[in-house]
C-alpha cells in the first residue's frame, strides 16, 4: 500500500521561457555574471547547458541573444506561482526555481482523479507564469522528479503506478546527481542503469565509491526518504476593479464577500485557516484606504459580511468612490482539528448531574424520577416501564 505520494511540477527552461514571454527572441541564453543559467529549446539543441560560460555558449550558438537576469527577478515571478500551487496542496516545497514538489496524498479522493488535479496545477501555473509545465507523481521526490522530466508535453502528466524501484530500474544512471568521477567509474564497470546500480550491495557501493554514494544508491533503490517540507504561506488576495467608481457600502460588502468566498475554499483544501483580514480600497481621487482586522476565531464564509461591514465602517462614503477593492487574507496558520462537542457534552453532563443532585436534595423524596424498563414484554402497558427515584447511582446504572 502506497502511503505517501509526491508530485513534482517542472517548468522546462523556466528562465528562458520567462524571458521569451517578456519579448525576447529565440534562440536565447539566460546568464548571470557570465555564467549560463538557462537556455531556450533552440539554444539547448546547439549543446548549451547551464553552468557553461557565456563565451563558450555564444561560440556554440553565435546567433543566440544573451539576457542577464538577476536571481531576485526570478524569485519575484516564482513565488506567486508557488502561492497559486499551494491552493491545491497542503504542502509545496521548492528546492530550485522551476521545480516544485507537492504533497499529492489523498488528492485523488478530493479531485476525483490525479489527472484532474494535475490539470488544475497546470492551469494555475499557466495563469501566473505563462509557461508550460509537466507533472510527475511517485512515492518519493527523486522518482517524481524523474517522472516529471520523462512526461511528454501532452498530456504533461505521468503517475507512476508501479513501485518506484521498478519505475527507475531501466533508466540511465545519469539521472542521479553523481560526481563526474563516480559516473566514470560506473561506466567503466558497465553499470549503466539505475537498476544495475540498485542491485549492488550497500557494502560494495561504500567500498567502491565511498560512503557519500550511499544516498544515491538508496535513491536508485526507490528509497529517497527526503521529507516534503511545505513552505509557509504568508497571504492570499483577490481584487475587483470597478468600471464606474462605487460609493455604496452594500455593493462593496457584496463584492468583498464574493472575493472571500473565492479564496476561502482553496485555503480550506490546503488545510489553512485565516486569522487576519485586510481590505484595501483604491479611491477615485487616487488615494488608497487600507483597514485590517485581527480575528478571534478563524475566518469562515458566513462571518464574511459582518467582518467586512466592520472593516468598512470607518470608510468615509463622501469620497468620490472606489475604483478597486483588494481583499487580502493574512495570518495563515495550519488548521487544527477538533473533537467537536465531545468535551462540551461531558461538561454539560457534569453540570446536569450537579443540578439533579441539588434538586433531589431540596425536593426529595418523590420529586425526581428516572424511567427504567421493567418488563418490556408485559401484556399490560403500565407494567413495561417504571419510574425509579433519582439517585446518582441510578443515573450511572442507566448508562
Amino acid at each position: 500500500m502506497r502511503s505517501r505520494r509526491i508530485a513534482c511540477i517542472w517548468f522546462p527552461h523556466f528562465r528562458a521561457q520567462i524571458a521569451l514571454t517578456q519579448g525576447e527572441t529565440s534562440p536565447l541564453i539566460v546568464h548571470h555574471h557570465g555564467s549560463v543559467l538557462d537556455a531556450c529549446v533552440d539554444a539547448t539543441a546547439c549543446g548549451i547547458v547551464p553552468g557553461m560560460s557565456l563565451s563558450h555558449a555564444q561560440a556554440l550558438c553565435p546567433q543566440a541573444s544573451a539576457v542577464s537576469v538577476s536571481h531576485e527577478e526570478h524569485i519575484a515571478i516564482w513565488e506567486p506561482a508557488l502561492d497559486a500551487l499551494a491552493l491545491h496542496s497542503p504542502a509545496v516545497e521548492s528546492e530550485e526555481i522551476g521545480t516544485a514538489y507537492l504533497d499529492a496524498s489523498g488528492m485523488e479522493q478530493m479531485y476525483g482523479c490525479l489527472k484532474t488535479w494535475s490539470e488544475q496545477l497546470h492551469a494555475e501555473a499557466q495563469n501566473v507564469i505563462h509557461a508550460p509545465s509537466r507533472v510527475g507523481i511517485a512515492g518519493n521526490k527523486f522518482a517524481a522528479l524523474v517522472a516529471a522530466h520523462l512526461t511528454p508535453d501532452d498530456p504533461g502528466y505521468l503517475n507512476v503506478t508501479e513501485r518506484d524501484r521498478e519505475f527507475l530500474s531501466p533508466l540511465p544512471v545519469g539521472w542521479l546527481p553523481l560526481p563526474e568521477e563516480t559516473r566514470r567509474q560506473l561506466s567503466v564497470l558497465g553499470i549503466n542503469t539505475l537498476g544495475h546500480f540498485a542491485r549492488l550491495s550497500a557494502t560494495s557501493v561504500i567500498e567502491q565509491f565511498g560512503p557519500g554514494c550511499t544516498v544515491w544508491h538508496q535513491w536508485a533503490r526507490g528509497g529517497d526518504e527526503r521529507p516534503l517540507r511545505g513552505r509557509e504561506r504568508k497571504s492570499v488576495e483577490a481584487s475587483q476593479e470597478f468600471d464606474v467608481p462605487v460609493d455604496q457600502f452594500d455593493i462593496l460588502i457584496g463584492v468583498g464577500e464574493r472575493l472571500g468566498e473565492k479564496l476561502l475554499p482553496a485555503l480550506t483544501r490546503a488545510g489553512l485557516v485565516v486569522w487576519r483580514m485586510e481590505v484595501e480600497l483604491q479611491l477615485a481621487e487616487g488615494a488608497t484606504w487600507v483597514q485590517t482586522i485581527a480575528l478571534r476565531e478563524p475566518l469562515s464564509v458566513p462571518r464574511l459580511p459582518l467582518l467586512l461591514s466592520e472593516l468598512l465602517s470607518d470608510w468615509k462614503t463622501e469620497s468620490a468612490g472606489v475604483t478597486e477593492l483588494h481583499l487580502r487574507l493574512t495570518g495563515l496558520k495550519p488548521a487544527v482539528g477538533e473533537q467537536l462537542d465531545l468535551f462540551t457534552y461531558l461538561e454539560r453532563n457534569v453540570n446536569l448531574e450537579n443540578a439533579l443532585r441539588r434538586l433531589a436534595t431540596q425536593h426529595a423524596p418523590h420529586t425526581l424520577f428516572m424511567a427504567r424498563p421493567a418488563k418490556p414484554h408485559a401484556t399490560l402497558l403500565a407494567e413495561r416501564y417504571l419510574l425509579v427515584e433519582y439517585t446518582h447511582d441510578a443515573l450511572l446504572a442507566g448508562r
Binding site: 452594500d250 457584496g254 453532563n349 425536593h363 420529586t367 425526581l368 424511567a371 402497558l381 416501564y385
Partner: protein, 246 residues
C-alpha cells in the same frame, strides 16, 4: 430627497417588517441571519418549515394547545426525541402524575437521557425549570401547564413568575414546551400567551382505520403566534401509530 432605489427598497422592507413581523419579508442576504435562531426540530419536516426557524425555538417558551388525542403531546414527545438525537438530555414535568412511559418509548424517547419530575407546587416547578435549563437540558416539557395556572387564578404572581421564567430560559439552549389541555370551551388563562414566543393549536380532525382497528389520526395544526415567522398558518398532520412502533 435624492434617495436611491436601494434606500427606497430598504425603507419599504423595514416598514413591512415593522407591521407584519421579521418573517413577513426578508432581503436575500438577511435570510440566513433571520433563521439563525437555534431551534429544536419537532420531527415533522413541513411543520418545522412552517415555524420558520426549523422547529421550536431554544431559549423561549412554546405552548402546544389541544384537547385529548389532538396530537400536542405527541409533538412534544417527538421534539424530545429530536433533542436526544442531538445528544441533549430532556426533562418531563409530570404535574398530572399520569405519565405514559410506554407511549413515550413508542415515540422514540430514550429513557437514559430522560428526567421525570413530579413537583408538588408551582414554586418547585419554576425552581426545577431554572435548574434544569441552566444545566444544559435540551428540552423541558411541562405537561398540563393549565393545572399550574389554576393555582394562580387571579393572582398577580403568575406574571412575575412567567417573566422570571422567560429571563431564565432565554440565555440557555433549552426549548421549554408547555402543554395546555383544553377542557372546557374557553382557554384557561389569558396571561400565559403574553409570555410564550410560539403558540401552536392542535385540533383532532379524524381517525384512520384499517379493518376496524385504529391506525392513526389527522390533526389540524394552527400556529396561533410566532415571533420568528408569520403566524396563522395551518397544516394538517397525520399521526400514525404503526409508524411509531419499534
Amino acid at each position: 430627497m435624492g434617495k436611491t432605489r436601494w434606500q427606497q427598497l430598504d425603507a419599504t422592507v423595514t416598514a413591512i417588517q415593522k407591521q407584519w413581523g421579521m418573517g413577513a419579508i426578508q432581503k436575500g442576504w438577511q435570510h440566513e441571519q433571520a433563521y439563525s435562531q437555534p431551534a429544536t426540530p419537532i420531527g415533522v419536516p413541513r411543520l418545522d418549515t412552517l415555524l420558520g426557524i426549523g422547529g421550536l425555538p431554544e431559549g423561549h417558551l412554546t405552548e402546544l394547545i389541544g384537547r385529548g388525542t389532538a396530537g400536542h403531546l405527541t409533538l412534544a414527545l417527538s421534539a424530545m426525541h429530536q433533542a436526544q438525537l442531538h445528544k441533549r438530555h430532556v426533562a418531563y414535568i409530570d404535574l398530572s402524575r399520569s405519565i405514559d412511559l410506554d407511549y413515550m418509548a413508542q415515540c422514540g424517547v430514550d429513557f437514559d437521557s430522560l428526567i421525570v419530575m413530579r413537583p408538588d407546587n408551582a414554586e418547585q416547578v419554576f425552581r426545577c425549570i431554572r435548574e434544569l435549563s441552566t444545566a444544559g437540558v435540551g428540552a423541558i416539557v411541562l405537561d398540563r401547564a393549565n393545572d399550574l395556572l389554576v393555582e394562580f387564578a387571579g393572582d398577580q404572581r403568575l406574571s412575575r413568575y412567567l417573566r422570571n421564567l422567560r429571563s431564565v430560559v432565554n440565555p440557555t439552549h433549552c426549548a421549554l414546551i408547555l402543554l395546555t389541555d383544553l377542557v372546557g370551551a374557553n382557554y384557561p388563562d389569558p396571561v400565559l400567551p403574553n409570555y410564550v414566543s410560539v403558540r401552536v393549536l392542535c385540533e383532532h380532525q379524524r381517525w384512520h382505520y384499517r379493518r376496524q382497528s385504529v391506525t392513526g389520526y389527522t390533526s389540524r395544526i394552527t400556529i396561533l403566534k410566532n415571533k420568528f415567522a408569520p403566524s396563522g398558518r395551518t397544516l394538517p398532520v397525520r399521526f400514525s401509530f404503526e409508524r411509531r412502533k419499534k
